[in-house]
Subunit: 436 residues, 2 copies
């Protein structure tokens, strides 16, 4: 029988399908998986504080979204189908100018709710008012690597301010002592951050032992502008400044050439593929997965912010990823379902340093349960194929992060209030833009 | 208060959002919309046999899927990520060789369930054992144009058999006297049907006053082979045979040139865009929407079968359509949300001859209600943008076709049995393939 699932304590998940077998999963009080097996409910898991009856649900590692601007959920549907510059300068920047910390808090709450409801357990975020974002993530119970978006626009004065902002945020996160929340540095991109700024970010992140989150070679213009201005392509600039490390997440990477794929692989950089955003903004080229794979690079999956995706449902984006690669590189065999799923689970978890994205003893209990009786899972010729090509996030019934049950039977405690307050914050924000 | 929604009789839908206003919708005993307005619940709609409380739900015209092979739901996830020829000859054709009418019945039942659950009210289908498909559609309560897939492989003998099969099916559908089910002729494509076969289909469809459903210029190979063999590109061949008419649905159309877009527009052909299938099979080119739009052609939306899409969720495919056009033709402003939604509603309904895909008096009551409190609809800056870019089919709460309530509060009567029986049929089918 199921028990009260809120709170802490050990957790037994009974009778789930995992890699074709029916097993029980037992997680200890620390939220780590202690045992997986057909007999665990009668052995290690007996007397668990909390029990979930899986009833044959499909168990998968929780999904990991490696590139978000979470609070931009407040802009969902605000501006669409416009040329990039007009969209940025006419709509996005003006509304961002009116953002408050409270807006970022509610926008991030809404993002966390959406991620929980679609099976994401960890994400890598870059934005402003990140203390407020951290507060929202802590309340949601998700894992996240949070970075303050460092933009100096090649001004020494701005750079100093951004360095202090970054240090302040990193100290703030340290002070939280929350094992689910880590800080990273967030130099925005080569076209918004000076080489001095990039070098400072690289050195600071190394001295603090924290990650780096950056946009890389998203558009052709970014590449040609860099060559025109500095005589180098963006990856070479980043490498010169020490930004390319095994702690680095580089988002987009649409316009990498083959040698750059090799460079990123050699440096251990984690690439974040953002298929929906790239299609919506018409970047003109898809991330060259075949070259990255050939080079042995770590490739992960991201949604980007809601202004250029409109959704944080990573299961839908898995389908976009697998299909965009096939279409853009003219190969129906490129990025098969299993590799796509690994991008969104094991590769993502390793990139963010939250375990290895596997359901096995010693790993954090980051687990999602899918409804095996959903239409998208019928028939059951291939669980993985159904997950990647057929199921949207709404097929996720239960989301567990580090042993905490964040959603069960599609119910997220407090979800109604978040929807109401985020909608109110978005309306008030647009009102302020109108009145300005 | 809500009433028993099963059965017939007039229907009042109270308090829904339609084009930014709060209205009631009243449909008469024949399933036609009789009145729409803020006061309808107290006037025309008073005393309706059935009442749905919309509680501010978003009302949209039901979605129309103009290209399916519905029974292929049984193959969902059966064969993936393979080169086209290997996939067809190694997996799809062998399993199709074992299909029975009972399989097609359950596969189509599963397809109808999936369509109802994601807001589709009408579809255009081409497959085999179509009597069994018709039985499934009739039970589901959906609207459909059904065609027997006519394939003569350039053999006179086969052609004669296909003509008789087509005539027999058309007579069968006539005999059903079901206003929701129409027959069409289904010449498969220029590479599987002789010119004599195509001409017979054109003449027969004209004499019977029924539609034509065909694949057109899906792959580059189809075009180059046609030129090599007959010295003409596929649209010219079809035009020569009389296939291009205002009663015709041409699926895919990836490799049309500009003149062919003009030809199709001039002939009044309805093009069915199939973005997911085209991406998955790596057709190498997206339907040229910009040329078709310029020419004034009717462009609609289709999923294709579940073997090359894995899903019949048209709301998800709306996002694929809008994004693929932007990406493939390198324009972030191409196929904006409003035009995409029109493809899947008004254009589709007109293509199939089931009204005009609008919620207005005199139209069939083909209506879906979306949950305004779903995450994908929060915030509510733009209802249409949320529908196209953010919501999956699971945001649809209620599906109404010609006044029949096929789903309400996400419950489809009999859904459990369909899932069970379709899964059983799929397992048995694979078993027969293995044993052969």
């Amino acid at each position: 029988m199921e028990t009260d699932l809120s709170g802490r304590g050990s957790l037994l998940i009974r009778d789930v399908r995992l890699n074709g077998e029916r097993v029980d999963i037992f997680a200890d009080e620390q939220g780590m998986i202690a045992a997986v097996g057909s007999d665990v409910g009668r052995t290690e898991g007996r007397g668990a504080d909390r029990v979930i009856e899986g009833n044959g649900a499909t168990a998968l590692p929780g999904l990991v979204n490696t590139h978000t601007h979470a609070a931009m959920t407040l802009f969902r549907g605000y501006a669409e189908d416009m040329p990039l510059q007009e969209w940025l300068s006419g709509k996005i920047w003006p509304i961002e100018a009116h953002l408050t910390g409270e807006d970022v808090y509610w926008g991030t709450k809404l993002a966390c709710l959406e991620m929980i409801r679609s099976g994401t357990v960890a994400f890598s975020d870059m934005y402003f008012f990140m203390q407020d974002a951290a507060r929202a993530v802590a309340e949601a119970g998700l894992c996240a690597v949070l970075s303050y978006g460092f933009i100096d626009l090649f001004s020494g004065e701005k750079r100093e301010a951004e360095c202090r902002n970054t240090e302040e945020f990193v100290r703030f996160v340290r002070g939280l002592k929350n094992p689910r929340i880590k800080a990273a540095v967030g130099p925005h991109a080569v076209y918004t951050v000076s080489k001095e700024g990039l070098s400072w970010c690289a050195e600071y992140s190394e001295s603090e032992g924290i990650g780096i989150h950056i946009h890389l070679s998203e558009t052709e213009k970014e590449v040609t502008d860099a060559v025109a201005q500095w005589g180098k392509r963006p990856p070479a600039i980043l490498d010169e400044c020490g930004i390319l490390t095994p702690r680095t997440i580089a988002a987009h990477c649409c316009w990498l050439d083959r040698d750059e794929c090799t460079l990123l692989a050699r440096r251990g950089v984690h690439v974040s593929h953002n298929p929906v955003s790239n299609m919506k903004l018409a970047t003109g080229r898809a991330m060259p997965y075949h070259w990255l794979k050939e080079a042995g690079a770590s490739v992960t999956l991201g949604t980007d912010g809601c202004a250029s995706n409109n959704s944080l449902d990573l299961l839908t984006d898995l389908k976009f990823a697998a299909l965009l690669q096939k279409f853009a590189w003219n190969s129906p065999t490129l990025l098969p379902a299993e590799e796509a799923l690994a991008m969104a689970t094991s590769a993502g978890a390793r990139a963010l340093g939250f375990g290895n994205g596997r359901i096995a003893p010693g790993e954090p209990a980051d687990i999602i349960l899918l409804d095996p009786r959903a239409v998208c899972n019928t028939p059951a010729h291939s669980v993985i194929s159904n997950v990647v090509y057929s199921c949207p996030g709404s097929a996720v019934m239960t989301t567990i992060c580090h042993g905490s049950v964040l959603m069960h039977d599609r119910t997220v405690p407090g979800g109604e209030e978040i929807l109401r307050e985020a909608a109110r914050a978005a309306r008030a924000l647009v009102e302020r833009v109108r009145e300005s």
